[in-house]
Amino acid sequence: MEERNFKMALLERVPAILEKVPCGKPIDDMVNMVYNWGRRNSVWPLLCGFACCAIEMMSACASRFDIARFGSEAFRASPRQADLIIVSGTVNFKIGECLKRLYAQMAEPKYVIAMGSCAVSGGPFYYDSYSVVKGVDKIIPVDVYLAGCPPRPDALLHALMTLQKKIDKERIGKNRWNKRYE
């Protein structure tokens, strides 16, 4: 992995240049604001529901709790085209391998919402279960944890809003997927 020769994208070199220019910081903030505004208002999740929380996810996508007004208009079935994976349901060891593969196939920038007790910590299956992974953050890194069994669809929308606030704080060139440039 270290031998590959990475070329930084043009937009990601902008902060380093703007630091040296006299009026650079407000321009940097403005560029970040516009860039993040575009990204946070079009987070497209992966069309993949794991268990019972998927029913609440589907109901959040239906007309009463419309997730399309938050920008998640299109759920993409292919991980290559998705930004967000909502882990909605219990994760076993067998499906955990597939989940790891799905997460690895997603292109950066990518986010994860752990929806429901089973994804957060194993939930009701924490005790006396030989096959449930106790928390999906043992497999993939999680951005937002959402408690509930199952959480209401409005709680999922709140988690999406929390994720949007997290995206607002990101800076170009200094994200966790740019760390290889340091």
Partner: protein, 156 residues
């Protein structure tokens, strides 16, 4: 036919069949050597139990045995019956009933996967639920694993 008639029909041919308590339903317990001949008799002409509902096992550590439970239903006579046998806990071997009820193939694979009971003359006895390469039989009461966290008492 009623429970008593059914029990009498079975006990005429199988002298060791014992009626055991099962919440008011009829349950018959036999020795494990006779299980295949009993089930062949049940699926035959007078009784016509043509549907095997399920087959599971119960791990009893105190007596050192595992109990196999079969449940049958007859569509023509509209009766149901439970059959139980005892198998030893360490490497128990039982005859397979796949020749009579093809659905038993997957039920017996599940019992083998989770409990470790081996079925003779089973066409394809391998794991069905646990991942490939898994060792151990999880539903045994003495199964230990680093992933298995036991809850001793919910009221601590």
């Amino acid at each position: 036919m009623s429970d008593e008639e059914l029990l009498k029909t079975i006990q005429e041919k199988f002298k060791d069949a014992v009626r055991i308590e099962n919440k008011g339903n009829l349950a018959v317990s036999v020795n494990k050597n006779e299980i295949l001949s009993l089930i062949t008799f049940l699926s035959g002409e007078p009784l016509l139990f043509d549907w095997m509902n399920f087959m599971t096992a119960v791990d009893k550590m105190e007596s050192g045995t595992m109990e196999l439970v079969y449940q049958f239903y007859s569509f023509s006579n509209k009766t149901k019956l439970t059959v139980k046998t005892e198998v030893s806990r360490d490497l128990g071997v039982v005859d397979s009933v796949c020749g009579i009820y093809p659905t038993a193939e997957w039920h017996e694979r599940e019992v083998y996967d989770l409990f470790g009971i081996i079925f003779k003359d089973h066409p394809d006895l391998r794991r069905i639920m646990m991942p490939d390469g898994f060792t151990g039989h999880p539903m045994r009461k003495d199964y230990k694993d680093e992933n298995l966290v036991r809850l001793e008492s919910p009221w601590q």
